[in-house]
């Protein structure tokens, strides 16, 4: 069966520091991969998605970036974190377009 791993679960970072969140999927090949952010009391907002290695689509312009160095690996990065980057970040995968997306356990990011 397919599983999705996301780490770390919790992260506290100072303003201006870099960020790297990692997500990997097991048990499937060539999945679509997604990064979402959930602000407190709100629904999820799609940040990036990828339909293949090296293919990244950005939904919301900001100081975050995403990369997909391997088929089942999706990384969310920032060179300099802002206070507004605080939130709950969720990685997800699907077998293709218009298919249900399955989420990881999320990373709680706090910026001090």
């Amino acid at each position: 069966s397919q599983t999705i791993h996301q780490w770390p679960a919790t992260l506290v970072q100072p303003v201006g520091s870099p960020l790297s969140l990692e997500c990997t999927v097991e048990g499937t090949s060539n999945p679509n991969l997604y990064w979402y952010r959930q602000a407190a009391g709100r629904g999820l907002q799609l940040l990036f998605y990828s339909v293949g290695i090296g293919q990244i689509s950005s939904e919301v312009p900001q100081n975050l970036s995403a990369s997909r160095p391997q088929d089942r690996q999706f990384i969310l990065s920032s060179k300099k974190l802002l206070l507004s980057d605080s939130g709950f970040y969720l990685c997800a995968w699907s077998v293709g377009s218009n298919q249900p997306q399955h989420f990881g356990d999320g990373t709680r990011l706090s910026i001090l």
């Binding site: 009391g41 907002q45 799609l46 689509s57």
Partner: protein
């Protein structure tokens, strides 16, 4: 713009009772997909049920069923025989066949099942 509205921010129900969560959406597209996700206190987002807009038959998954009214752009979730483990945030979401990677979420609704 495509939007999802969950007008009830919070509900509570007694164990074993039935509860209905409401959701409306707005889109000009004809082909789309609707979802209900559940997010318990553990924070993991779990798919509850899915409905294709081209299907007239309402989707059912065990104790969970939907009432899909396409003309009214309404997609409510009915939970029968509520259990304590159903306590969670519930999010309604949809995606169109054109923007086929983008799930648009509502703000969510907190459901509490009381013993």
């Amino acid at each position: 713009a495509q939007t999802v509205t969950q007008s009830q921010p919070e509900m509570s129900v007694q164990e074993a009772e039935t509860v209905t969560l409401s959701c409306t959406y707005d889109t000009s597209e004809n082909n789309y997909y609707l979802f209900w996700y559940k997010q318990p206190p553990s924070r993991q987002m779990i798919l509850v049920i899915r409905q294709e807009a081209y299907k007239q038959q309402n989707a059912t998954e065990n104790r969970f069923s939907v009432n899909f009214q396409k003309a009214a752009k309404s997609f409510s979730l009915k939970i029968s025989d509520s259990q304590l483990g159903d306590t969670a945030m519930y999010f309604c979401a949809f995606m169109t066949s054109i923007a086929s990677e983008k799930l648009v979420f509502g703000k969510g609704m907190k459901l509490t099942v009381n013993p």
